[in-house]
């Protein structure tokens, strides 16, 4: 890998030292895994295979860009049950400097508002970031809400749907996707950025990164220096604002999606030309080929 260029003073946004980059990531159930799907169609999260939220890969790449270009120190933060440490290892293998896992039984059933509160407390505990990256959304919640809610809690501007960016003299210039086009914005740091899945793709982990992770997994003391595992008490969070208690919404009911009015007429088990002929006899497809 290319030698990292040390950041010059001009590139540093505020205060002393290198740019502080935080990246917020989440472990989600793997939707392609067949294990952990209950008979009623719900997901058993304890049994399901787990993975790094695919959108967070773009956020990781963006965070690593600040490291390559500005020598930023990159901190990955995740919230979840103890196995969520796996995504911190994955982030470190890609070149992230340190990780923080906020884990606590009282976080169960957090909705986005409670999650954003908990993450805001964790960010405040962890330092003063110049820039925070989140994936646009997660694949399990699909809400895209936690990023903006966290920015509101931290009282800083946000750029959502970011596809590309650069930082110059403490100012972020970013291109964001909008309906039918894009928009370029300028905003001084600190800022929270949610990264779209049209942004730059994450490369493979580095050999050095993977070796570092192997060392951390073997050596408890070395791990404790790089990955902090925190509880609500450590970050000074109010338990009444976290988890089920701090969540203004609940999932009250799930219902099976009913089948549509007409039952599907399926053609199968015959030679192909017959199948297509049966279909075109049942439906006047030709009608759709005529103009207006």
């Amino acid at each position: 890998m290319r030698q990292e260029i040390p950041s010059t003073l001009e590139e540093i946004s505020r205060g002393q030292g290198p740019l502080e980059t935080f990246v917020l990531i989440k472990q989600v159930p793997d939707p392609n895994s067949k294990t952990g799907v209950n008979s009623d169609g719900t997901i058993d999260r304890a049994k399901a295979k787990r993975m790094l939220n695919p959108f967070d890969r773009y956020a990781l790449e963006a965070a690593l860009q600040t490291k390559r270009q500005h020598g930023a120190r990159v901190t990955a933060i995740t919230m979840g049950p103890p196995p969520a440490i796996e995504v911190l290892y994955e982030a470190i293998a890609h070149g992230v400097d340190r990780g923080i896992l906020i884990t606590d039984r009282r976080l169960a059933a957090s909705d986005t508002l409670a999650t954003a509160y908990t993450l805001a407390q964790t960010v405040r505990y962890a330092g003063q970031p110049d820039i925070l990256f989140c994936g646009l959304q997660t694949t399990d919640g699909d809400t895209a809400q936690v990023g903006p809610q966290l920015a509101e809690r931290l009282g800083i501007p946000q750029v959502t749907y970011c596809e590309a960016f650069e930082i110059q003299e403490g100012i972020l210039v970013a291109r964001r996707a909008i309906e039918g086009g894009s928009q370029t914005v300028r905003v001084p740091l600190p800022v929270l950025v949610t990264v779209a899945n049209t942004a730059r793709r994450l490369a493979y982990p580095t050999l050095r990164g993977m070796q570092r992770v192997q060392r951390l997994m073997r050596d408890e003391a070395a791990r404790a220096e790089v990955i902090q595992i925190l509880s609500l008490d450590d970050i000074g969070a109010d338990p009444d604002r976290c988890g089920l208690k701090g969540s203004p919404t609940i999932v009250a009911a799930t219902e099976k999606v009913g089948e549509m009015g007409g039952r599907c007429q399926v053609f199968q088990g015959q030679p192909l030309p017959q199948l297509v002929q049966q279909l075109t006899q049942a439906v006047d497809l030709f009608r759709y080929t005529l103009t207006s």
């Binding site: 086009g181 914005v185 049209t198 999932v251 799930t254 219902e255 007409g262």
Partner: protein
């Protein structure tokens, strides 16, 4: 009387109301009537005095309008300031507050929800009002009976399930609604409504972000929403080249477009603009041909309102065969070329038929001769 207020955020771009604004009014009207309340539209922008009559004609009882140069283009913080100030100026918060699940609504609504410390449900596909009784031994402080709470209904992760999400403990109960799902009311020019200007008091920290440039290239945009026929390919295509076949089939139909499932987009086979489904676009074309798409709920919510759905899939147990109208179980790489051949042949025959018809009509007078 303590009238319940439903507020919808009416999105506009360069003075033009977005379709989602009218869709939200349609949904909001139904909710307000069910609550016995009023429907307010909230519109922010610059030089937008022409919009309130449109909003009233499409169902609003009241329009709150904030017209200010700094609001000309949407930016998170100025819009947030104006809406927060407005809601806090009311003696009580609205019962329900709705946004479109657009890049604007999904940017703005969570910030407001965090500021107002209230619940927000993302990307809803159905909304309703109904009663709810909450009992949970783990959290007795929230127990109670709520006669009229917002049912925010959305597809749930990886499951063929819809989740009903409720947050009756605090108003406003907020939701973002997927574009293209709710139906607008027909225009009624006789409707009367009130137009109320909203004061704009921005602070310097609201104006930190500058828009350098906005590019909207609508001609190049994939217009899935207007296509009459959509040919969509999924992970079953196996490779990016498979979309060539989808384009070829689509080319048989005028006003057609190529769609895709999320997996095919994630695989990098086709740009995101083609994605249909929960995290893509919602479409309701006259004909939707799904090739190599299993029909997971995330895809289904984006297309199941299509007038006619035809599924082609190798796996006869794929969920798509549960809600498509017609299906062929087979290898799409054999079925689709056969289908194309069939359609082309039919077109050819019609053209030949037209050629035959011409002389026949010319002959007609001869036949009529006694």
């Amino acid at each position: 009387m303590d009238s319940k207020r439903v507020v919808v955020f009416a999105e506009q771009v360069d003075g033009e109301l977005q379709p989602i604004a009218l869709e939200l009014l349609g949904a909001g009207r139904r909710l307000a009537d069910k609550l016995g309340g009023i429907l307010s539209a909230l519109v922010l922008g610059h030089n937008i005095a022409h919009l309130p009559p449109l909003l009233i004609g499409h169902g609003a009882d009241q329009v709150f309008i904030a017209d200010h140069p700094e609001l000309a283009q949407y930016r998170t913080l100025p819009y947030r300031r104006v809406i927060v100030d407005l809601i806090k100026s009311w003696p009580q918060p609205p019962h329900i507050l709705l946004f479109g699940a657009t890049t604007t609504g999904r940017d703005l609504a969570p910030r407001l929800a965090a500021h107002l410390e209230t619940g927000l449900t993302a990307d809803c596909t159905e909304l309703d009002i109904g009663p709810f009784e909450y009992t949970n031994s783990r959290d007795p402080s929230k127990a109670g009976f709520f006669p009229a709470c917002l049912y925010a209904i959305r597809p749930s992760f990886g499951e063929s399930l819809k989740a009903r999400i409720l947050g009756p403990w605090k108003n406003p109960q907020m939701a973002t609604v997927r574009p293209g799902v709710m139906l607008p009311l027909p225009w009624d020019g006789s409707r009367q409504g009130e137009v109320i200007p909203v004061p704009v008091n921005l602070k310097p920290e609201d104006l930190k972000l500058h828009i350098v440039e906005t590019v909207r290239n609508l001609s190049q945009a994939v217009d899935l929403s207007r296509a009459k026929v959509i040919v969509a390919g999924g992970y079953g295509l196996g490779c990016a080249e498979g979309f060539e076949l989808m384009r070829e089939l689509a080319a048989c139909f005028p006003n057609s477009a190529v769609g895709s499932s999320r997996k095919a987009v994630d695989a990098g086979w086709i740009p995101y603009a083609h994605q249909v489904g929960q995290t893509g676009k919602t479409v309701r074309p006259q004909l939707y041909i799904a090739c190599g798409i299993s029909g997971a709920i995330q895809h289904r919510v984006g297309m199941d309102k299509s007038q006619l759905i035809i599924a082609i899939n190798k796996d006869s147990s794929a969920p798509i065969f549960k809600f498509a109208h017609y299906g062929i179980v087979g290898d799409l790489y054999q079925v689709v070329p056969e289908l194309i051949r069939h359609l082309k042949q039919a077109q050819e025959e019609r053209r030949e038929g037209a050629n035959v018809q011409q002389p026949f009509q010319q002959r007609l007078p001869l036949l009529q001769r006694p």
